[in-house]
Symmetry: C2
């Protein structure tokens, strides 16, 4: 990294360089005075090197640096010397530079927050001055990690014959799915491009073209109200293959995932377990289970609906989990859990517990309705042992599953079962093809309208659409959906039936997806694929809370760029030219 302005970076000098004359450039991290000595920590992307200034032997230089402050940019020439008190924490900790000449390359105002691993700047301030936030090691390292991951993925995909092909960003708007960002056309007033939510149709067209194996690391856009872990623009690792079955896809991308873990994290992962969507819901109440710990759901309808407890008797589902060794939970702790499930975010009406005491007795919040034999039967059904706590919820099936899922995750966190640095991967397979929406009274595609029904379910597409499963699959790591995909429809007639099942008129289908259905007339091969969320993959691999940490210039929850101030009003002339005025 030698340039005309430096001989070395701030991260590379060691005891091997002692005696060498060097020139470094960087930012002042810290200035310390110790008696007649002044020390400056000089920082660049590659590390920190200590500069030493001796007031006795070099008073002019010491005078020159007096006004210097944090984050000034300087160039320094000096000789590498062994350091008196070594710093074992950094690679350059054995040496320092006896400074001989300093040039100020740029001054700096005092930054609005400290440029340290732990900064004193609040979220909003750091976003506004993102260029300073990016100087901090944790943020910088996130972006270096992302780069490294991108390079590794591209080389792996290239090596197994995938071709990266760029698909367009100015496409057509499709009302199906999330909301599009649109771009007014200057040449055709009243007409709009849309920014792609994914290159889905293009990658299918590339399969029709015979590219056989396509991938792309690509920006995608969704104009949705943002949750903590969503951004209006995000990056996908988008992939598609021809002449394959689901098994080929799972094997191919299991290879990629294994490679990533080995190459980037140094971890050998085990063959990825598979679970059906149905079982994931049944045992974890979620289509993206955190399987780092068990605590599987046990259905208790049979053992709890024979007494006089209406809440259970009237419930579609009575279901429990076992918290190992938690029988000793205090009243207060149990109340906390009840309050947790009653929070609006979870929305349950209550929680029943059974404490399996060490002495063989059971204590429960429903002692009024169930005797010791009843409770023992529950414990047996759950596989609970003395010392364990059983937590039970009841109500409509899906709702109760989802609520108990949140309690399970909460218990996992409380018991330290969701360990950072431990990775449990799952393929969730056999998703339903469609899901019913009560509000609009129609079916929606669970993945997207191009997903193929399982061949053995194809016949039910009209007669029993709700029970048609798809060869659709998600990759879940530690409870986060990192990617997903499906085998696609490649037959024009089946695609028509699918659009019909989704409530499209033939005209609507033709208008929106005509080009794809036309393409299917000219020899579409069997194909399928998947897409990983690149931002999310980064955050999961680094045990981070949000994808925002891995995006250089993210938007806030109101989809604003705090640094740029975007979006902004545009001029009347621009509006007029676009036909918007």
């Amino acid at each position: 990294m030698k340039t005309s302005l430096r001989t070395h970076t701030c991260g590379e000098l060691t005891a091997n360089n002692i005696g060498e004359k060097v020139t470094l450039c960087g930012w002042i991290q810290k200035i310390r005075k110790l008696g007649g000595m002044t020390f400056i920590d000089l920082r660049d992307r590659y590390g920190i090197t200590q500069l030493a200034f001796n007031a006795e032997t070099n008073p002019d230089l010491c005078k020159q640096i007096e006004p210097f402050g944090r984050e000034w940019v300087i160039q320094v020439t000096g000789t590498v010397a062994e350091r008196y008190s070594k710093n074992k924490n950094i690679p350059t900790g054995d040496i320092e530079i006896l400074a001989e000449k300093i040039t100020v390359l740029n001054e700096s105002l005092t930054p609005p927050f400290t440029i340290e691993d732990e900064s004193d700047g609040g979220d909003e301030l750091r976003m506004k001055f993102r260029y300073l936030d990016l100087r901090r090691n944790p943020v910088k390292n996130n972006l270096l990690f992302r780069h490294k991951l991108g390079i590794a993925i591209r080389n792996y995909m290239n090596n197994i014959g995938f071709v990266e092909i760029e698909t367009p960003m100015l496409v057509n708007s499709t009302p199906e799915g999330a909301r599009d960002f649109v771009v007014p056309s200057r040449l055709s007033h009243g007409e709009f491009y849309a920014l792609p939510q994914s290159p889905q149709t293009f990658k299918q067209l590339l399969m029709v073209s015979g590219f056989d194996r396509y991938f792309q690391i690509v920006k995608c856009f969704r104009d949705e109200d943002l949750r903590a872990d969503r951004q209006p623009e995000f990056t996908q690792i988008d992939c598609e293959m021809s002449f394959i079955t689901q098994e080929d896809i799972l094997q191919t991308f299991e290879g990629l995932i294994k490679y990533i873990f080995k190459e980037i994290k140094g971890i050998d992962i085990e063959p990825i377990e598979r679970i059906t969507w149905h079982d994931a819901m049944k045992y974890y109440g979620s289509d993206k289970p955190d399987a780092r710990f068990g605590m599987r759901f046990v259905e208790l309808n049979n053992v709890l609906q024979h007494k006089d407890f209406k809440v259970f008797n009237e419930a579609e589902l009575v279901v429990g989990i076992v918290a190992k060794g938690c029988a000793h939970y205090s009243r207060k702790q149990l109340d906390e859990l009840t309050n947790f499930v009653k929070r609006p975010q979870v929305g349950a009406t209550g929680l029943v517990y059974i404490q399996c005491q060490e002495d063989g007795h059971f204590k429960s919040s429903v002692d009024k309705f169930y005797d010791q034999n009843d409770l023992q039967a529950v414990a047996k059904e759950c596989g609970a042992e003395a010392g364990d706590l059983i937590l039970i919820m009841a109500g409509p099936r899906m709702k109760t599953q989802t609520q108990l899922c949140q309690l399970r995750l909460e218990m996992g966190s409380r018991l330290g079962l969701r360990k950072a640095g431990e990775y449990k991967l799952l393929w969730v397979v056999d998703f339903p093809l469609l899901e019913w929406d009560e509000e609009t009274q129609r079916y929606y595609a669970m993945h997207h309208p191009f997903t193929a029904p399982k061949p053995e379910h194809e016949a039910m597409l009209e007669s029993d659409p709700g029970h048609v499963n798809a060869n659709a699959y998600d990759l879940v790591i530690n409870g986060t959906e990192v990617g997903g995909g499906s085998i696609r429809i490649h037959d024009k007639e089946l695609q028509k039936r699918m659009f019909k099942a989704l409530g499209f008129t033939e005209e609507e289908a033709q208008k929106q997806f005509g080009f794809l259905m036309n393409a299917f007339q000219y020899g579409a091969p069997p194909h399928g694929g998947l897409a990983f969320g690149f931002d999310r993959m980064c955050s999961v691999l680094c045990d981070a809370d949000t994808i925002r940490d891995f995006i250089a210039f993210p938007k806030n929850n109101a989809a604003r760029d705090m640094m740029l101030g975007a979006p902004t009003p545009i001029s009347d002339a621009q509006l007029k030219e676009l036909g918007l005025k």
Copy 2:
């Protein structure tokens, strides 16, 4: 590339596989009947393999394939056999598959044009059915080339310490420069994002952040009226470095370019020559000279303004080129050249020629005004020899240079001096910082408003802005600008002076680029960079006429996607939600 549906691809079987039972998938390229034999050429991305069907030994199979047509997708199982008449032109030409079982994976309508290297389809038809056009070898190979080039560039940049960082696509609109595509905000009616024309300000901010070496292969957008070689969305290889001088940048990217030529084309290129912008204009009439051939301009004011020829005497510039060995040009050929320069695209009023005849005599279109001695003086000045043709134009300096440049290129083409497969690279350096626009009566930045004046010219920024040069540079290959960049301003005060020179009020500058100028207050390092046009680099390296050939789904000259039909009207509900109704 084995999958559940095939054991091999159509490009890999050779004599080594004879006797093996294989399964292939692909598209039917051609069906031929020869007596009792039917042959099918089966095509996939990897190649073509011949399938053989014997009516005598396998009548049922022959019956099954009878309805098959071009572009049907089939799966075939059979045994590899030596071919009777070998095809030396393809890797699989020694073998054929004795077909035993066929499955139709998809039928195909007859494609609207032939899927051959030379297609019978017109441009518009092929764009509309781009997914079929992409099946053709030349188009397919262009995209494979682009992929390969992308991988090579990324690995080279990674190896020399550059980090790929994604910058946002939803940014703020800046009226300076080309027209922006804008994106209405749903959350803030009346406000707009813009799609980036380049990540220029972001990469500078990343330098302020200390990333030291950044690159990105990234989509950029310009809402301009399209010329043949422009697209509304295009891809840049965008790069920036800190703590460098212009020399570091030229060396670094000369390294990249050398690597690309060696790795991708197998060509060792010579050290890249440098020419100043001033000399490029003087000797080639262009800031992107095609230097595969000489034919340099010779200024002839001194030797041609002493006689009574008003056209020359009143001209700011009289300038000529020598066409070697063209003295024999006929009246008709000379008229063609005159007509060429008179075309509206060139716009000259006339052309003067001097034929340096083999016998030592000169014949000229201005014999009335100049005698043999005069013409000999011109020939001497030009270095023309017996047998050469001198072509002379006159008029205002810049205009005449530009016109003669076009004639020079025309002559280069006529004389076969612009050879495909021969590459002449140039760094054009020392661009003027500003260029004057007559229409708006103001200076515009020749590169962009962040380009630094040469330090020795800085003082003239107010007093003589038109003569300030910049450390700005373009890479030119065979007359095409493939990339360009500059050393940037990293000082807030200098940036302010620059905006002032461009006619910005302080308010306008602050409003549009405040975030960048603010960033410069917090320790911006000296930095600079460049960007290559990725699409254009592909086309130049492949001697192709247009970048469109290297884009999977390009737009036409009206910025429409002919396949999608984009842009399109959007629904009233969408317009309303965006505050546009």
